[in-house]
Amino acid sequence: MSFLYVHGGLTPAQWVTLLPILILSLTIVVVTSAIAIKRHHWWNATISVVGLNLALLPLFVHFWVPELWTLPLPQTVTPLLGIDNYACFYMAMILVTALATATLSHAYMEGYTGNREEVYLLLLLSTLGGLVIVCSRHFASFFIGLELLSVPLYGMAGYLVKERRSLEAGTKYLVLSAVASAFILFGMALIYAQTGTLAFADIGARAGDLAGSSRSVMILGSAMLLVGIGFKLSLAPFHLWTPDVYEGAPAPVTSYLATASKTAVFALLVRYFVEARAYEMPTLVNVLSILAILSIVIGNVLALRQDNLKRLLAYSSIAHFGYLLVALIASGPLAVEAVGVYLLTYVVTTLAAFGVVTLMSSPYRDHDAEDLFDYRGLFWRRPYLTAILTVALLSLAGVPLTAGFIGKFYVMTVGADKHLWVLLAAVVLGSAVGLYYYLRAMIQLYLRQRWVQKYSAPLNWAQGTGGGMLILLMLAMLLLGIFPTPFINLVQAAGLH
């Protein structure tokens, strides 16, 4: 019996739980048609944003006003998709990220002379992929979701085709990502060969019975799967693509790449580890530990003297996913919660950081405002934008009062709970090194320079939606840092059971 066989169609409750995915799919169709009808930047952006908001609406109501209405959860929709609070939480996160990216893209693309509209289409497609991934509990849906997430991203990264860097970024991402996908596929195939199933839960049930060479092949398959996922999460030693792609891709795309795509994959990794009982294979945990330490060390060290803000954030993201792995390794309900909180803080912070880069940049120039030199003395010209970037950098560094501190606190909490001393040592050391470059970047914003720097981004940023969104993000960072309880409750509700 194939996983495609569905007995008796979907029930109404299942349809309802699929609402976000359905609405988003519909939006894609509408946007495609709209572009076909008339190219209009504002209209297409607006349609996309409205669609994203509509898709977000049921999730929002579900989580924030449960007394009004809740989704009938959990719900298994075909063996492929399982929609529970966990999935809903990450769907909401990805949708919010996509919204932010769309908003930023609008500000960024205003000045672009080529076709501007398709970027929204690609964004929506990729977001759909993200939604599918976080709901998937089956290799097939995982694979579909992953490719749906990645393939549009190639296009997005290379969107500014007239720019050599953008093009280079797209090409690199395409080739390497495809290699990683091949690894994932081959790994899946090996696992399937040994267990005879593609559903996570069944894999977990059967993997325990394997012995001898079957078990070895199973481990080999899992390892290859991890290689591919490690690449997507840009864990060391699969990280080399990250800075180049981050740098070359247009700033809003980079922000999406750094947040939504990684969030989705990580959410899936956690689900896979829990449902497929990968924790019961100590070798995999060992692999993860080594990847975590390597990522923390290499990511932080590489960022140490980086003068390009986008590359710096790329390297720092390598380290951050190293920290996240520590939470994953810790295992248990608290670990899942820690991952949720950390991803939440990381996404908010990263969006804010890249948001500032976006607003500082414009595709008029041959590259974005990414040299730290471009930001020198920014405080004396644009205090509020600087304040946002400052808070974002402090948050990335994990300094109290900001969201990042809560995230790091959670990671260290679960690490201490499970006595992962070596990993914690890496986290502590990595954070210390990390501080160095975040501070180094941050202080540039405040150093007075003798001449007035040219900058080309629109001046009325604060009135624009992009600016408004950034201020919201800053408030979110501070709120998460000072009064995280509502968010923690949310994440806690979205645990894996």
Binding site: T171, K172, V175, L176, V179, A180, F183, S216, I219, L220, S222, A223, M224, L226, V227, G230, F231, A236, P237, F238, L240, W241, P243, D244, P282, T283, L284, N286, V287, I290, L291, I298, V301, L302, L304, R305, V433
Partner: protein, 616 residues
């Protein structure tokens, strides 16, 4: 009257405050009046209190005035309380009486100096601190004064701050005495641990019951206190600072480095007599230190050429006598000598100051000569003071006290100390009259002009009088505080000893006359002889202690400090951080930007992951 005791120190303290706050706004005359007057008030109050104490003695012959409780920490509750008994009264008398005369003289000596007000503010502060030291009822209070006088000594030695040499002499004085002070502080810690109090009376009362005679702990305490005493009193091995301290204005040398502060060590040992009596070994060493110092200082003084340095070494040597007396158990004699020494040494220093000023700040005695006509008052002062220093029999104050010391050492069976003292007396006579003969006799070398005015003559005259047998008549009222010495009422033997020491002194003076009156041919020959020349240099360098300490402590300190100025520990840490930077450089090289290389890294990573998965 006794309840005004606090005025004794308050008056100079107020003087200090007024003078230091009014810097630059007070005229020199007013400053002089305040500076001298505050000490005068202090002296009068001391006099009044003394009379009342002696005429209406209480049971223990002491009066205690509680000012306030300093602090209370658990069982540690030192008080600010003044205690006036025979010993502190003697000290107060010396400090305020001699101090007043020196202040008066200084108002002549320092006239016209741009730091006149500053000078008197420091001097007043010094007197106040010194009074804390002797009046303090508590060892912590005593330590307060102890450090305070050290600071004032530092400030006054370096009073003429423009010359770095003065500053360095001042620092040397402070730091060397601070070494002693630290020993003393440790002694206090130990004492507190053992007895649970730093109150002097209480500690002295409980000590005999707490310690066995000669027990290790009490010996350690006594030695540590001795450490403090030798530092402050410039005895071996911490004596090196005193000669350099002569860099200060001469009244300072008279007050601090002759009459009062340097005798604080003697006072301390006398105050903590009970402890020393419980530790005979330490007490014996007090005597040995005194004997050794007096000989060393005597030999050194023989070859000095600076008038003040000669006097400084003579001070060192006289304090050696006092230590010797303490070591011999001649407690009262030690304090008696302390007092007479204050009289005649102050006289000598003040008149030396007069000579120096008259010779336009010339201090080398061989550049002076024949001054007796031009400077009659200083000349006679020197003759009387010098005689007192040499203990010329019966006529001088010094004779009465020094003779008593020698006799009691002899009577107590300390023959070694006695002989050292006797030989020291011989040396004293030689170097003292070498000075006098060189400066006041022979050919005139320079044009000198005499001082005049009441503030010039009065102090010299009074001190001159006190240095004669008149001073020897004043017997400090110590009988209730300190026990009688071993040779009380010695009778005939005492007379023989007195005769012997008197003879030695006269012989010394005669020898000095032989050597230094006239053309000094023998001295010149001696100075150039094969044995005399290196010996002279050795004596001149005060037995090379400075050289030794320089090699042992100063150089290694400076070496370490210079080598480590940039903090190698820091460099080590920063080097570790630097290695991260180079790691960054290496890792950055892996970011080649080439797709094939990146794919290769994915492949290599896959191999790594699979290897880890396979091997663990």
């Amino acid at each position: 009257m006794l309840n005004l005791l606090f005025l004794v120190f308050l008056s100079p303290l107020l003087g200090f405050l007024i003078l230091s706050l009014g810097r630059g706004r007070i005229s020199q005359n007013l400053a002089g009046v305040i500076g001298v007057g505050s000490i005068g008030i202090s002296a009068l109050v001391t006099l009044g209190c003394g009379i009342q104490l002696l005429t209406h003695p209480s049971a223990d012959g002491a009066y205690t005035q509680l000012l306030w409780q300093w602090m209370q920490v658990g069982s540690f509750n030192p008080r600010f309380a003044l205690r006036l008994d025979g010993l502190s009264l003697t000290m107060c008398g010396v400090i305020t009486g001699v101090g007043f005369l020196i202040h008066l003289f200084a108002s002549w000596y320092m006239r016209g100096d741009e730091g006149f007000t500053r000078f008197f503010s420091y001097m007043n502060l010094f007197v106040a601190s010194m009074l804390f030291l002797v009046l303090g009822d508590n060892l912590l209070f005593l330590y307060f004064g102890w450090e305070g006088v050290g600071l004032c000594s530092y400030l006054l030695i370096g009073f003429w701050y423009q010359d770095p040499a003065n500053g360095s002499a001042a620092r040397k004085a402070f730091i060397v005495t601070r070494v002693g002070d630290t020993f003393m502080a440790i002694g206090l810690f130990l004492l507190f641990r053992e007895l649970g109090t730093l109150d002097i009376q209480q500690a002295m009362a409980t000590a005999p019951g707490h310690f066995e005679v000669g027990s290790k702990t009490v010996t350690a305490i006594a030695f540590l206190l001795l450490g403090g005493a030798v530092g402050k009193s410039a005895q071996l091995p911490l004596q090196t600072w005193l000669p350099d301290a002569m860099a200060g204005p001469t009244p300072v040398s008279a007050l601090i480095h002759a009459a009062t502060m340097v005798t604080a060590g003697v006072y301390l040992i006398a105050r903590t007599r009970v402890l020393f009596e419980l530790a005979p070994l330490a007490l014996h060493w007090v005597g040995i230190v005194g004997a050794a110092t007096l000989l060393l200082a005597g030999f050194t003084a023989l070859v000095q050429t600076d008038i003040k340095r000669i006097l400084a070494y003579s001070t060192m040597s006289q304090i050696g006598y006092m230590f010797l007396a303490l070591g011999a158990g001649a407690w009262q004699a030690a304090i008696f000598h302390l007092m007479t020494h204050a009289f005649f040494k102050a006289l000598l220093f003040l008149s030396a100051g007069a000579v120096i000023l008259a010779c336009h700040h010339e201090q080398d005695i061989f550049k002076m000569g024949g001054l007796r006509k031009k400077l009659p008052l200083p000349f006679w002062s020197f003759i009387v003071g010098g005689s007192a220093l040499c203990a010329v029999p019966y006529l001088t104050a010094g004779f009465y006290s020094k003779d008593e010391i020698l006799w009691q050492a002899f009577a107590g069976g300390h023959i070694d100390l006695f002989l050292a003292g006797l030989f020291g007396a011989f040396l004293t006579s030689i170097y003292t009259f070498r000075l006098i003969f060189t400066v006041f006799f022979g050919k005139e070398h320079s044009a000198a002009h005499s001082g005049h005015g009441i503030s010039y003559t009065l102090p010299l005259a009074v001190l001159l009088l006190l240095s004669t047998f008149v001073g020897g008549m004043i017997h400090p009222p110590l009988s209730l505080v300190l026990p009688a010495g071993p040779g009380e009422g010695g009778g005939e033997m005492e007379h023989k000893i007195a005769l012997l020491s008197g003879t030695v002194a006269i012989l010394g003076i005669a020898l000095a006359g032989l050597l230094f009156l006239g053309d000094r041919r023998f001295v010149k020959w001696l100075n150039n002889s094969a044995l005399g020349e290196p010996l002279g240099r050795f004596f001149g360098a005060a037995f090379g202690f400075d050289w030794l300490y320089d090699k042992l402590f100063v150089r290694p300190f400076l070496w370490f400090v210079r080598v480590n100025a940039s903090d190698y520990l820091d460099r080590g840490i920063m080097a570790a951080a630097g290695s991260l930077q180079s790691l960054n450089g290496e890792l950055t090289k892996t970011q080649t930007g080439r797709i094939r290389w990146y794919a290769a890294s994915v492949a290599a990573g896959a191999v790594l992951v699979i290897a880890v998965a396979a091997l663990t």
